[in-house]
Amino acid sequence: MTLVINGETKTCPAVNNINDLILHLGIGPDRVAVEVNGRIAKRRDWESTPVADRDRVEIVQFVGGG
């Protein structure tokens, strides 16, 4: 499937939901926030939030800032 993740078009094996995607990307699930097509998915909803071909996904974390 093709996803636009953080602005980059990525081809990855088909995943069903956000949980699977985060697992596939190897991202530590703590302290990240995920948005699919402009809607933030709460962590407890990751399992039930589907990810489909051509979805736009944003994955953010905390970095140093003032």
């Binding site: 953080n6 933030i40 994955i59 905390f62 800032g65």
Partner: protein, 262 residues
């Protein structure tokens, strides 16, 4: 009875803090220096930014590996946002990432000065307060805007002392004093502090706290500057509470005028 700092914590959003110094986590040469500077600053609240995870290089160290979140409360900011909508979205992403309702709200109006767009700031404050956020807005030194932010439900107002990262010190003591008379929420000077005396000036004016990043991170020795800032904030608070003498044009002798042996 004399005044003790320990009897006078900063009360913000229903929480109490011993330290009246809030520090940023940006611009450090490396995370180890940052960790030590945070430690020496005595701060209990640290600001962080929300940015995209780097997908191509997952090996890089993570900021949060260097911040003990049991000791430091994370305060996500909305830095880099130029509209109310962007800031509201960033605040929500920060809430989801940090699992906390607190936000340092910034809506920038101009790239060169980084002055706030206060019209958009007020709009974003209203939205976020309604959504249950504890909103700490970075604003300009306009007392009327400070009052509007308070009316909109802001938990504190955070006027600048000078442009972000400029290190010019407190350029607007008169406006800060008027702001403190206009609002009853805490007033936190956010931006402009370049060295310890600047932080002391802000606190001597009666501000409730000071927020800084570059003043520490950009110093030649950030760890030592962090301690200087801690002590300056404490000294400034003590001086404010002690009540300074009035300024006079002429001298007033400190030693007795009588009994001088000639």
């Amino acid at each position: 009875m004399t005044y003790e700092l320990t009897d006078d914590p900063l009360v913000l959003g229903g929480k109490t803090f011993r330290s009246r110094l809030i520090v940023g986590t940006g611009k450090y040469s490396n995370f180890a220096v940052m960790r030590e500077a945070l430690e020496r600053s005595g701060s209990q609240i640290v600001t962080v930014a929300v940015r995209r995870v780097n997908l191509s290089d997952r090996s890089r160290e993570s900021l949060l590996d260097f911040i003990d979140t049991n000791r430091f409360m994370l305060l996500p900011n909305t830095a880099g946002c130029y509209t109310a909508d962007e800031a509201v979205r960033a605040a929500n992403l920060g809430r989801e990432a940090g699992l906390s309702d607190w936000v340092k709200l910034e809506v920038i109006g101009d790239e060169r000065t980084l002055f706030p767009d206060t019209e958009a700031l007020l709009a974003a404050t209203r939205v976020l307060v309604k959504d249950g956020f504890v909103v700490l807005p970075y604003t300009n030194d306009d007392p009327i805007m400070a009052r509007k932010l308070e009316d909109a439900g802001a938990t504190a107002v955070m006027p600048l002392g000078a442009p972000i990262g400029s290190g010019m010190g407190i350029q607007n003591p008169a406006n800060l004093r008027i702001i403190m008379e206009c609002v009853s929420v805490p007033v936190i000077v956010d931006a402009g502090v370049g060295t310890a005396s600047d932080a002391a000036v802000a606190m001597e004016l009666g501000c409730d706290a000071v927020l800084m990043n570059t003043g520490i991170a950009g110093a030649t020795d950030p760890v030592t500057m962090a301690e200087a800032m801690k002590k300056a904030v404490e000294a400034g608070r003590l001086a404010f509470k002690a009540g300074r003498i009035a300024k006079k044009l002429y001298a007033s002798a400190s030693s007795p005028l009588e009994g001088v042996s000639r």
